[in-house]
Subunit: 124 residues, 2 copies
């Protein structure tokens, strides 16, 4: 099982990769058979091809991502609150999700679920 | 499926009940066959009897509970960050978990998982 320190570092690498719009760095964090459900309730992206396509779509907008509070890492899973800010049609928008990631024995993410609803999206 | 507004209200009622040490109010939020895994990785408390016993143990200490940031409520699930402060042997202690709750069609919690590790516990 991956250590809390490993999961903490993976979350920080994920945030850095999102800010850098580095698709290779993002997908390198995921296991081949991973599932990404973002937001919770949507059809998951399954496997690296679908996951890469999902992030490629997300990164069409320039994202500014920042952790909010500590990463909670325990028993092969990590949860963390963060904000994602971007402009859409010149309008500043911020989403504040909580992501939950499950890791495999090799320390790669096998499941990511992003919790946010309409109440967690604000536009300026 | 319960609305985001219902789940938001349930989380706020949960925090109020913890602060009031109101065991009846806490267990009233749970379905009969609910599972509580607190922290993630521990053996879950299954069913209302075990859940009540779990909270009775937790409430031996006077808890001060506060939400940190918004509740993320979507598709029958809610995630939220919060802090729990108490004194143990005269020492102030704070834990900062993220809880994930899944609700049934009747709007009661059927699963609660509390994410926190050693790095999320601070003692003064």
């Amino acid at each position: 099982m991956p250590t809390p320190e490993h999961m903490q570092a993976a979350v920080e690498a994920y945030v850095r990769a999102l800010n850098a719009a580095d698709l290779d760095a993002i997908t390198a964090l995921y296991a081949d058979d991973a599932r990404v459900e973002d937001p919770v309730g949507s059809t998951p992206s399954c496997g690296l091809n679908e996951i890469r396509a999902f992030y490629a779509r997300s990164l069409r907008l320039k994202l500014q991502v920042a952790l909010e509070g500590p990463v909670r890492a325990v028993a092969g899973e990590a949860a963390f609150a963060f904000s994602v800010s971007f402009e859409i049609n010149g309008r500043p928008t911020t989403i504040r999700p909580i992501d939950v990631m499950r890791f495999d024995a090799a320390g790669r993410i096998v499941q990511m679920r992003a919790f946010f609803g309409p109440g967690n999206i604000s536009t300026g």
